[in-house]
Symmetry: C2
Subunit: 462 residues, 2 copies
């Protein structure tokens, strides 16, 4: 046994998420992460490179990357034989299969930005890291190249979406604008899921008068997991970009937790509603625009969709990132709004309770009403928009006296707009316009499907 092996054995970083029984076995066999092993028991024989177990994984299952690129978790038992074999993969690279492009196929462009769809397990930590390039994402999808031709595949960033903001949105919007103007049928954007809804809203406002679809997709599960959803989402997004006759910014993700269909949801009316389910992206106060099945068949679910056209798109990437969002809770002090006013924020979205409430009544001296702070904000020219933390439904300033009080001091009630979409719309509006009346007019009028007329699509929990 070499000294190096001994070091590996005693490093706490290795195999931390495996059971002590398995760790002992790996130690005995001098196996470290990335080593090629064979596993044989009465039922199966498997060969591949051993991975760190994910913290969420079964500590008694051995995670192996097989030569076909898929990972498998195998339950260990005392009747199983594990053997160390020759051959070891370098921890950060896998073979990339770059497909041949055929002629005569519809052309689309792909912009990769990172996210789980471009992630895999980091052998060192057992965690998931953003590492894959677009070509790697495609490696397991050769069939796609019989259907579409990629005019352009660009890796713009390699980020988890939680770190993105308007700077990335601008770049994605400009790149999408240029690609669509170059004549492709559509653009696919691979993206982390955390803030995918916010990004979809941002692109919906930055790119006005679209001529072709822009489809954002990603994965809720990383490519090393059996439940990886990125492949089907990407195939469906690519087909939708090539074929759907809907000129909107849309998100394409699983419709249900099975692999039957994906939904195309409008960028301003969609929200990540679950931390981990594959069908986490749901339309709110809206129906999905269309469904796409595994054969690529697109079924439209709404009428009067905006169609592909030969018009001129508008690119408006101004954004004022000093806007903020405040979620109301019982007893919340308006101090936080005062502080944002002092700090020079140009606009605030309030996520009120119910139909758009904030504390306004003062049952005791310890609690302050929000109304004076609203008045102060509005006097100083700050836009204050009201949305609801219910998410579903619409705010309304006339039902209760307390709501009317907010309305009367100048708070703008933003109908059935999602709080997140309202924040992005406000940043975009303030980044592109100066006149307060124009800004208020833009905020209450529908620009990109973010406001639906009364209860037109009042579907709940779909």
């Amino acid at each position: 046994m070499t000294k190096k092996k001994a070091q590996i054995r005693t490093t706490k970083e290795d195999f931390v998420n495996y059971s002590s029984k398995l760790r002992k076995e790996f130690t005995r066999l001098t196996i470290s992460p990335g080593d090629r092993i064979s596993f044989v028991d009465e039922k199966k024989s498997i060969e591949g490179h051993i991975l760190e177990q994910n913290e969420l994984g079964d500590p008694n299952a051995i995670l192996i990357k097989m030569d076909n690129g898929y990972n498998i978790g195998i339950q260990f038992s005392l009747t199983a034989t594990i053997r160390k074999m020759t051959g070891r993969v370098e921890l950060e690279s896998f073979p990339i299969r770059i497909p041949q492009q055929k002629s005569g196929l519809p052309e689309i462009s792909l912009l990769a930005t990172g996210g789980t769809i471009a992630s895999r397990i980091d052998y060192q930590t057992g965690g998931v890291v953003m590492a894959m390039q677009p070509e790697e994402i495609f490696a397991s999808l050769p069939e796609l190249f019989d259907e579409v031709s990629f005019k352009s595949v660009k890796s713009l960033f390699s980020m988890g979406s939680e770190d993105m903001n308007f700077r990335q949105w601008r770049i994605i919007a400009e790149e999408s604008f240029n690609e669509l103007n170059s004549g492709v049928q559509g653009v696919v954007i691979t993206h982390g899921t955390d803030i995918m809804g916010y990004s979809a809203a941002a692109l919906s406002f930055m790119l006005q008068d679209l001529i072709s679809p822009i489809i954002i997709t990603g994965a809720q599960r990383s490519s090393d997991r059996g439940s990886y959803d990125g492949a089907i989402n990407l195939i469906s997004a690519t087909r939708a970009a090539a074929k759907a006759d809907i000129a909107s910014v849309m998100i394409c993700m699983h419709e249900t937790s099975s692999d039957d269909t994906c939904l195309l949801t409008l960028g301003t009316k969609v929200r990540k509603m679950h931390t981990s389910r594959r069908d986490a992206f749901r339309p709110i106060n809206d129906r999905a625009l269309a469904r796409i099945d595994m054969a690529g068949k697109i079924t439209e679910l709404q009428e009067n969709l905006p169609r592909r056209n030969e018009g001129n798109m508008n690119l408006q990437t101004g954004y004022n990132d000093k806007v903020t969002l405040i979620k109301i809770f019982p007893g919340i002090s308006p101090d936080v709004l005062d502080w944002y006013i002092d700090k020079g924020t140009p606009g605030v979205i309030i996520e009120g309770t119910g139909l758009g409430h904030v504390p306004t009544f003062t049952p005791s001296k310890e609690n302050r009403s929000w109304i004076p702070s609203f008045e102060r904000a509005i006097d100083e020219g700050i836009f204050v928009g009201m949305t609801s933390q219910c998410l579903y439904g619409r705010v309304h300033p006339f039902v209760y006296k307390a709501l009317r009080t907010s309305y009367q001091v100048g708070v703008t009630f933003l109908q059935d707009m999602l709080p997140e979409t309202a924040l992005i719309k406000l940043g975009w509006t303030l980044g592109n316009y100066n006149d307060p009346e124009e800004i208020r007019r833009l905020m209450v009028n529908n620009l990109a499907g973010e406001i639906n007329s009364l209860s037109k699509f009042a579907e709940f929990l779909i």
Copy 2:
């Protein structure tokens, strides 16, 4: 025409939400709000007191309160005849029918706090105000008094719930504690819907080791509307308080938008998910505990429910209201957390993205990572808890490197707890305990159903 009538005619406050055609007709007939009128057209003949039209109402429909207490909106046409009659109701009072209490029925207590269930139209403004006393709520429910006997009916407050906070929760908790200890079968609390979920969570923590059910109910529609849901919710809540063998704090509201069933949902796992639908209250990361139908039949939907018992309840009403909640959005500056730290907040709940992310990477100098502010908060002894704005699902600190970074500096990941419940639990924990280790231990352990073990009830959008 007297001078007084002329004044009424020219007062802008009257009939502002009616069409000019109707306003002219009312002026011609010297009708003012509260007057008794008859309305006759080819189809119907109706008599009652004319009301101001709600701002949401049809300006061409005349709103009449009939003698049975219900309001009706009648479309006005030129073939209709309106006549002013003698008799006028005082604007703020309606007859109250106080029922006889029978003996031998299960005893419950009712605590009224205000809200839409205790509201009606304000004739002066057309808006909805909190005005009704508990006896008034009961006036339309005489059948209830064949089933239960009210040991105590108290009007604690007459507030819209958006103005409530821990001071009201303390009073409700103490009153509930005393009522249950007095031997009633259960307590019903009528409550506004805006923050009903927060209040249910607060009572769940303030009242430990319950011996009988505490049922919170309310209405999404006011009593002057045909879609009023308060009656059925209150009947169902009362029956559940008398009969359900579940010793928990629960919310009882409509299961669907029809009047068939109500759900009993656990106080720590329920959220108002729609601004106006009657079935707005949904269990999140949980199933409802039970369903109650219009015949009062209770069907349990979970196993191992806490049962009525003869134990000793614990009342712990400490609450530290300096806790706060911050909802994360792309590019949000940690300045707001720094400000809360400077202000002396003892605890913060972060509503992160996805599995519990905040901006941690710094793609440009304009954006700061949240990690140093987390470190500073934790160094100063401030509890920082992580939840997800997805609402459904659970946060997890190990899947991505960025999550692990937050975890490593001491952020506590709060599993599948709702952000709102986490905020209330933190306020309660800090209000009753001092030792930081004890506080952290309490926050990550299940006290009142607020944390479910992995995916046990992983139901989505139900």
